[in-house]
């Protein structure tokens, strides 16, 4: 049993699995080639309410616990990691609103997702990825409004989002302490999106720049106090890290399953290759890594659910799961041999999809920095 979840959650998981098997798994292949955003798949996913699973009940969502959400997200990632990325990116954007938003902001943002929408979290800039302190986007006070100028890049869901959370500097001289967060509805004058990135993997997710040119927003759109944007963003990433890990686990699990299935049917030297120890040991290692990563994700989320410190564990979960997803996908390709390298079979896509999990929402180098700091504190 992967995650320990309630009977009700198992029921929901079975439904999500059925949906992904019938509507996502095969269909995403063609979009992986074209790089087109599969709107009809997402329309169906929104229809069944996948955009509301994490939204708290008091705001009309399902308010599912973290572990249940992880189980559902893993299932989505198993079918297609791009699909997972799209669905989870909306929650990434909702997180800062739930953390520091006013009651009105929370209601408004939650409602967008409950009604079947998307959201984008805009922190990264061309010169500010891991080093968030280098944010160049500015928000200048003008009477009761702010005027934003700048460019965010690699923003998941940007072209389709119903709202954006934008991190911008309200006081350049203060560095990270001068950053503030803003809740920006789609269609705001001065807001536009760039061209869709042609990505290596997760090609069913849509990614582009967000461009703000003299974009005027009222003061009421600010999330939290001025100068708290950096802390809000860091807390948000902290909370979402374990979920990124669970997407990576989904890819690893898929790779493992594809490899096992193939190894049972492919015969060499008179027996299925799954009966060769060389393959068995590879499969065992793939399973060890996948399950370990999954349980680290579960542990980090359990800490979070119980109000305990979780930064170190979330970083470990994200970092480890991202790394092993790449390794397990590579092993799956190796087991499938030439077929693994061929686009006719699904495993080469898994490698392309897995790579981003070592990069986005904090590179694995940044995760290691977080983990190292925590480890050194422990030694004191």
């Amino acid at each position: 049993m992967a995650y320990i979840i309630s009977d009700e959650a198992k029921d929901l998981l079975a439904d999500v699995k059925k949906f992904c098997d019938k509507e996502v798994r095969q269909q995403c292949k063609e979009y992986d080639i074209s790089g087109e955003f599969p709107k009809e798949i997402y329309d169906k996913a929104l229809e069944i309410g996948l955009s509301a699973i994490e939204v708290p009940q008091q705001y009309g969502g399902l308010g599912l616990d973290h572990i249940t959400c992880a189980a559902l997200f893993e299932e989505m990632a198993k079918a297609d990691a791009g699909f997972y990325t799209t669905m989870s990116a909306s929650f990434l954007a909702l997180t800062p609103v739930l953390l520091v938003g006013t009651e009105e902001q929370k209601k408004w943002a939650c409602n967008k997702l409950v009604e079947g929408g998307y959201a984008s979290f805009g922190l990264t800039e061309p010169m500010a990825g891991s080093d968030a302190s280098n944010v160049k986007t500015t928000a200048v006070k003008d009477g009761d409004d702010y005027i934003l100028n700048g460019r965010k890049c690699f923003i998941t869901n940007a072209p389709v989002a119903d709202f954006y959370v934008i991190i911008a500097s309200t006081n350049k001289s203060k560095g990270v302490a001068g950053l503030s967060a803003f809740l920006v509805p789609k269609g705001t004058k001065g807001l536009s999106t760039g061209k869709h990135e042609n990505k290596m993997g997760i090609r069913t997710s849509i990614t582009s720049d967000v461009i703000m040119e003299d974009m005027r927003i009222p003061q009421s759109a600010r999330l939290g106090r001025e100068g708290t944007g950096f802390i809000t963003a860091m807390k948000t990433l902290d909370m979402s890290r374990a979920y990124v890990g669970c997407g990576a686990v989904g890819i690893a699990q898929r790779a493992l399953e594809e490899a096992v299935e193939y190894s049972k049917t492919r015969v060499t030297f008179g027996k299925p290759i799954c009966q060769h120890e060389a393959i068995q040991f590879m499969i065992a290692d793939m399973d060890i890594k996948t399950e370990t990563a999954r349980q680290m994700v579960a542990h980090a989320l359990t800490l979070q659910q119980n109000g305990k410190p979780f930064s170190r564990e979330s970083a470990i979960a994200k970092c480890y799961a991202g790394d092993i997803a790449v390794e397990v996908a590579l092993d799956a390709i190796q087991i499938l041999g030439g077929y693994g390298y061929s686009k006719e079979y699904p495993v080469e896509k898994l490698l392309r999809d897995a790579k981003i999990f070592q990069i986005y929402e904090g590179t694995n180098q940044i995760q290691r920095a977080v983990i190292a700091k925590a480890a050194m504190r422990m030694r004191k």
């Binding site: 029921d11 929901l12 439904d15 059925k18 949906f19 229809e47 069944i48 309410g49 996948l50």
Partner: protein
């Protein structure tokens, strides 16, 4: 509009069923699902309700486990559900099943204080595939029946049902109440939403027994069924011939042509 949908829980029909050691279908490891044609029936009923208003009740005859698929029905359009469970009904053939269903219809009508206008059944089940229960139920109830329906429209106090035929279709007018047996329409059943699923799980599904229905014990169960199954077997397997998979297409094709010419099949 009061609508009843009859639903049977069957083993997932995408899995091949074989016989187990004791000569019975090995279905215990196959996931139970609502019969595919019954899910089409429910979807059609749900769309009909959305267009014309009303209430949908789902009913199953079978053990308590059938509540699993009834809960799913509650998540995709049914407002209420009943399960009819009684050990004495085990092994009933289609005629006995139709009899029990007719009694269940009367009982549910009494409990809910309604009269059903339309009773939807799947065209057939994917397990025993007899396609008998729907029309037999109509006869027991003394109402009209249209089989193989793929579309329907309300026409005053009547229904216009589109019946798929071997050459095309008929439009058949039938007075309500009526039984309709449903074939695969041009759309797929909806997925439950996360929310409707959670709500459905919290709904109660009352159980009705033979005492509630007042069925005559001499008309139900395996012993009192007209059709008796005396044995089961698997069809004799056709021997596989040769499979040709040479290095190149030319070699494969030449070899295949040689084999086929030798067999004088052209």
């Amino acid at each position: 509009m009061e609508i009843l949908v009859c639903v049977k829980q069957v083993p997932d029909d995408s899995v091949k069923v074989v016989l187990n050691g004791s000569g019975q279908p090995a279905i215990d490891k196959i996931a139970p699902v609502a019969n595919a044609f019954d899910t089409y029936a429910l979807e059609m009923a749900a769309r009909f309700k959305e267009a014309n208003g009303g209430t949908i009740t789902a009913v199953s005859i079978g053990p308590d486990e059938f509540k699993t698929s009834l809960k799913n029905c509650l998540a995709v359009g049914a407002d209420k559900a009943y399960v009819v469970t009684d050990a004495s009904y085990d092994g009933s053939d289609s005629l006995a099943t139709a009899y029990v269903l007719s009694k269940a219809v009367a009982k549910i009508e009494e409990l809910e204080g309604v009269k059903f206008d339309i009773i939807f059944c799947g065209k057939e089940t994917t397990d025993s595939t007899t396609a008998l229960v729907g029309p037999e139920l109509a006869e027991k109830l003394g109402v009209g029946v249209v089989t193989c329906v793929t579309e329907l429209a309300l026409n005053g106090d009547k229904i216009d049902a589109k019946q798929e035929t071997e050459e095309g279709y008929n439009t058949i007018e039938v007075a309500m109440p009526a039984v309709l047996t449903i074939n695969k329409p041009h759309y797929d059943p909806r997925y439950p939403t996360m929310k409707s699923k959670m709500a459905a799980r919290r709904k109660q599904i009352p159980t009705l027994t033979s005492a509630d229905l007042g069925t005559d014990a001499s008309l139900v169960g395996a012993a009192n069924s007209a059709v008796k199954t005396i044995s089961l077997s698997e069809p004799t397997k056709k021997q596989a011939g040769i499979k040709i998979n040479e290095k190149t297409f030319e070699e494969t094709f030449a070899k295949a042509m040689a084999v086929m010419t030798e067999a004088k099949i052209f």
